[in-house]
């Protein structure tokens, strides 16, 4: 047993987090910044932060993840990091020539009180930012929230620092992507195109973190929302924020700055959330839903109906990030499954409230988020009430192995399988992929455990 020291008995812990179901803000900011075309994310802190974030994102995507660091030493930590950031801006523009540098802070620079707004302004005043180039920033202290908070903060930074209202509205809708995979962002664009709706999707990591092999390393791959597009988000007629935790703050900021009204939706994972997304897109843009989308929806419902016996009543434990867990839990309920244990390390009232709404259909569920909600607790819950399926990031494989539970990898990070960056889990086709993965895991287990006389050819 690889987690042999985890006892069944649950005891409240106040100081010790064990096997976290979250990580820190800056990696989220780095991921979001990669969704701007021609952007170099920059970590204002010690080298280790940048190195760890790049490593984790690289392991998850099997793709280049370029980012720079202010390389703090003890001197900078005592005297402030201004000189390091100014030097970074100069070095980066002369060597790596990005369109924009997206700076995020770290626990180190936040603790010493570095003011990114002031330092980036000084960089401009000192002539260190070439004409037509930009430096944006987001404050992302690691001791507040989680990687989801950092993602949200960087997306807020994009809108606040780029969006302008020219006074004339455009026939376009902003779709603010909550934390999702490049494949999901590509699928959102596909769906909007099928609907005939002009959208600006941001951030957009497709064609950045799923770049093709060409024999050439494109330092700035072709994907990402452009700066011009980000500027024009202020003139859009409406914003749809996909995710109350990772996307809504940017929609609020945009409404405040440029008076762009918005609606917050769940990320369209699973049938019901996708239904709401398609309806909202149809309503806000005043377009009809094309028959290809209705047919796709029909195919998903068809599979759910045809295979319902394999889902019904099966108990599921899941862990991960708020904006994915919310619609995923709902989808499990639509599949007639029982989400009995749910954990997320990310704190947040919006998250808790939305989960309460979803879990009205599952009063039996253990749900916990924020402090004390870690994978150690989830494992203990599973020991007390065993499940038929575990859904979560790669770290779940240790629980799955010890407890011998079928395991579907979902969320961040996935370090030991590919697919998440190429095949979407949003939209109806994404729902189909989730159904296939869940069903495959359950049926493989049934096959593995079946007595010889009970081993079925047709299932």
């Amino acid at each position: 047993m690889l987690l042999r020291h985890t006892p069944k008995e649950v005891k409240e812990r106040e100081g010790l987090t064990i096997n976290p179901a979250k990580t820190c803000q800056p990696i989220g900011a780095m991921y979001a910044a990669l969704g701007i075309h021609g952007c170099l994310p920059h970590s204002h802190g010690s080298q280790g932060c940048c190195s760890y974030h790049r490593s984790t994102l690289t392991r998850h995507y099997k793709e280049p993840v370029m980012a720079a660091t202010s390389s703090f030493t003890e001197g900078a930590s005592v005297f402030g990091g201004q000189a390091n950031l100014l030097q970074s801006v100069e070095t980066i523009f002369s060597v790596y020539d990005p369109e924009v540098i997206a700076v995020h802070s770290t626990c180190l620079s936040e603790t010493i009180g570095d003011d990114l707004q002031q330092i980036t302004k000084k960089a401009g005043d000192d002539g260190k930012i070439p004409a037509g180039k930009y430096v944006i920033y987001a404050s992302t202290p690691s001791f507040v929230g989680s990687h989801i908070t950092g993602y949200a903060n960087m997306v807020v930074g994009m809108t606040e620092q780029f969006a302008v209202s020219t006074g004339s509205k455009k026939e376009q809708i902003n779709i603010i992507a909550g934390w999702m995979e490049p494949s999901d962002m590509r699928e959102i664009r596909n769906l909007a195109q099928l609907m005939g709706v002009k959208i600006i999707l941001f951030p957009d990591t497709s064609d950045v973190l799923d770049a093709p092999q060409t024999g050439k390393h494109e330092f700035y791959p072709k994907g990402g929302v452009t700066i011009e597009e980000l500027k024009s988000t202020g003139d859009s007629s409406f914003s749809l924020a996909l995710g109350c935790m990772s996307a809504e703050p940017a929609a609020v900021a945009l409404d405040k700055k440029c008076k762009v009204p918005f609606e917050t939706l769940d990320i369209p994972i699973g049938l019901s959330a996708t239904d709401r997304f398609i309806m909202a897109l149809s309503k806000t843009a005043g377009v009809k839903v094309p028959s290809v989308i209705t047919a796709d929806r029909g195919r998903l419902v068809d599979v759910m109906a045809d295979m319902e016996q394999y889902f019904h009543g099966r108990k599921v434990a899941l862990f991960g990030d708020p904006d994915q867990i919310i619609p995923l839990t709902e989808f499990l309920l639509d599949l007639n499954m029982k989400p009995v244990h749910i954990v997320s390390g990310t704190p947040g009232m919006r998250f808790e409230k939305r989960m309460q709404e979803i879990l009205e259909r599952a009063p039996y569920a253990n749900f916990r988020n924020g402090m004390g909600a870690d994978m150690f607790l989830l494992h203990q819950w599973i020991k007390n009430e065993p499940v038929d399926l575990l859904i979560g990031n790669t770290y779940g494989k240790y629980i799955a192995r010890d407890e011998d539970i079928p395991f579907v990898r979902y969320g961040f990070p996935i370090l030991d399988r590919i697919g998440h960056s190429y095949f979407p889990s949003v939209g109806y086709s994404g729902g189909m992929r989730l159904v296939e993965k869940i069903l495959g895991a359950l049926q493989d287990r049934q096959d593995r455990d079946a007595l010889e006389e009970k081993f079925e050819l047709v299932m």
Partner: protein
């Protein structure tokens, strides 16, 4: 061999590597880019700050302390005091394999412990939460040892992890609690963390136990972290030769073994950069000499085993080592004879670690490949130029902040294993006793040596040299592969290995053969994008 390789003029290349930098940066970088001469050994600027904004391979002090040195010991509960990220990123990502004595024996490597510091802990101090965390870890697991690692904010807000550790150690009674001030901003790279870890392990662990160890030839293995099972292969060889491994620092190790490590009669050092401090300190305090060895490469492994036998000076051991080598080598030779025609004459670049970029050159030599450029991420000048340069290394402000322990001979336990004249004799026989010659003596004339290679420089090098393989880490892996050049990860081994000893050498030969000769590299261009495809269009569509 060299006649076949038409290497570009390194002095021209050096210009190309730095001409895009701002003037001051170019000046600084040029001192870290050196054209090698194995006879005269030019000076390499190393272990200095990375210019902010440069895309560097380097990590931080915490990574070197917790991730590298302390992480692989299975029965310590390692609590990271700080916000959640630092502990999360170091959770199982270094592939330190471990083999507990029994299915019940302690193993915390699969766990990630953190105080998950929140804003109020940063504002009002985190010591209270740390104490609670230590108590909770003790109540849950009753471990032999709990180690505390400070992350950046901890040092800044003035939490005293050492005082907390002392207090909790006393309170708990049967659990050794100790702290490390390894905040990420200390030093200029992981290297500072190695030193801090060495100091802590030496102060708080080594010498706590005095258990008699059976065996005639007793040694410790220093700087071997059992990535991909490297230590298992070395353990296999020691066992076969009749050499007793007292403790490993720190792959596949336990608290008990490290606490008893002063019972050994020799320290052999693999990764010089991360653990040489321990060798020196144990020599001074206990009289145990250390010797540089290398188990990466079949020939190097044979040589290292012979050196160990020579050190102990026992004829039976020497004979047994020869038997083992004679048994292992034919298997290796059969495989290299098959592979070498496919790898011969190819070129490699290695930019990794603080010792690996040196050791792995031996394996490439065995494959008939030439290392045209190499460098370390976080090494010091002695790792490049040899320990002779130690007295001439200037201690700058960043290094001054890392404590140098004042070690003296232990009044009771000091026992020089070899007297001065014996050591001199061994050195005369070519054994590197308390010494290390560094990487450059082994590298070819006119090859390039670059410390703390930047991303920009790596792309330029690849464009100019078009090496057959590039060795680095995960951050570089897919960048280089996008350029159509295979990259071998020498931190994680691309999830393969082991690469030590005789079995490891075979694994490496096979992996490199597979990588440099993989057909995928010829499939990159689509058929319609190839020049000869130009006239294909319109054969069927014109009417």
């Amino acid at each position: 061999m060299e006649a076949k390789l038409h290497l570009p003029d390194p002095s021209v290349i050096k210009e190309e590597l730095i001409n895009r930098y701002p003037a001051k940066v170019a000046k600084k970088r040029s001192k870290s880019i050196v054209i090698n001469d194995p006879e005269t050994i030019p000076e390499v600027q190393a272990n200095v700050r990375t210019v902010p904004g440069i895309i560097t391979q380097r990590g931080c002090s915490y990574a070197g302390c917790k991730g590298v040195v302390l992480g692989p010991t299975r029965d310590i509960v390692n609590i990271v005091h700080g916000p959640i990220g630092c502990s999360f990123y170091a959770w199982l990502t270094r592939r330190n394999q471990t083999r507990p004595e029994s299915p019940e024996a302690e193993n915390y490597i699969t766990y990630c412990f953190s105080t998950d510091m929140q804003e109020e802990n940063v504002v009002f101090g985190g010591e209270k939460k740390l104490k609670v965390a230590i108590q909770e870890a003790y109540d849950l697991f009753h471990p032999k040892a709990i180690a505390i690692f400070s992350t950046c904010p901890v040092g800044l807000i003035g939490d005293d992890v050492h005082a907390v550790s002392r207090e909790m150690k006393e309170k708990l009674g049967d659990c050794n609690v100790f702290g490390f001030s390894c905040e990420g901003y200390r030093g200029v790279s992981q290297s500072a963390g190695h030193h801090i870890a060495n100091n802590g392990v030496f102060k708080h662990m080594v010498g706590r136990k005095n258990a008699l160890v059976e065996g005639k030839f007793k040694l410790n293995l220093l700087g071997e972290y059992n990535i991909g099972g490297d230590a298992f292969e070395i353990e296999r060889l020691f066992e076969k030769c009749g050499i007793t491994l007292v403790a490993s620092f720190s792959g596949n190790s336990t608290v008990g073994a490290i606490e008893n490590s002063h019972m050994a009669d020799l320290n052999v050092i693999l990764c010089h950069r991360s653990i040489n401090y321990m060798g020196d300190m144990m020599e001074t305090k206990y009289g145990i000499p250390w010797m540089k060895v290398n188990f990466v490469g079949a020939e190097s492994s044979a040589k290292s085993l012979r050196k160990i036998a020579e050190y102990f000076g026992d004829e039976k051991l020497k004979a047994r080592v020869e038997e083992v080598i004679a048994e292992e080598m034919p298997k290796v030779k059969a495989i290299i004879d098959d592979i070498r025609p496919r790898t011969e004459g190819k070129t490699a670049m290695l930019f990794v670690g603080g010792s690996r970029a040196h050791h792995y050159q031996d394996l490439f030599t065995e494959l008939g490949m030439t290392t045209v450029a190499a460098g370390y991420e976080f090494a010091h000048r002695d790792d490049y130029e040899g320990r002779e340069v130690l007295p001439s290394i200037k201690i700058d402000a960043d290094s001054k902040n890392i404590e140098e322990l004042k070690v003296t001979a232990d009044p009771e336990l000091y026992n020089p294993r070899k007297i001065e004249t014996e050591l001199e004799e061994l050195k005369a026989k070519g054994l590197e006793i308390n010494g290390y010659q560094g990487m450059m003596k082994q590298m070819k004339q006119r090859s390039l040596v670059i410390d703390d290679l930047s991303h920009y420089e790596s792309e330029k090098l690849i464009e100019i040299y078009k090496p057959d393989i590039f060795c680095a880490g995960i951050k570089e892996k897919y960048v280089v592969q996008k350029m159509g050049v295979p990259l071998k990860q020498l931190h994680s081994y691309d999830y393969g290995g082991p690469y030590t000893g005789f079995e490891g050498a075979v694994n490496f030969y096979r992996d490199i053969d597979r990588m440099v000769n993989n057909p995928v590299w010829k499939l990159i261009t689509a058929p319609w994008e190839k020049e000869e495809a130009g006239s294909l269009e319109a054969s069927y569509v014109t009417q």
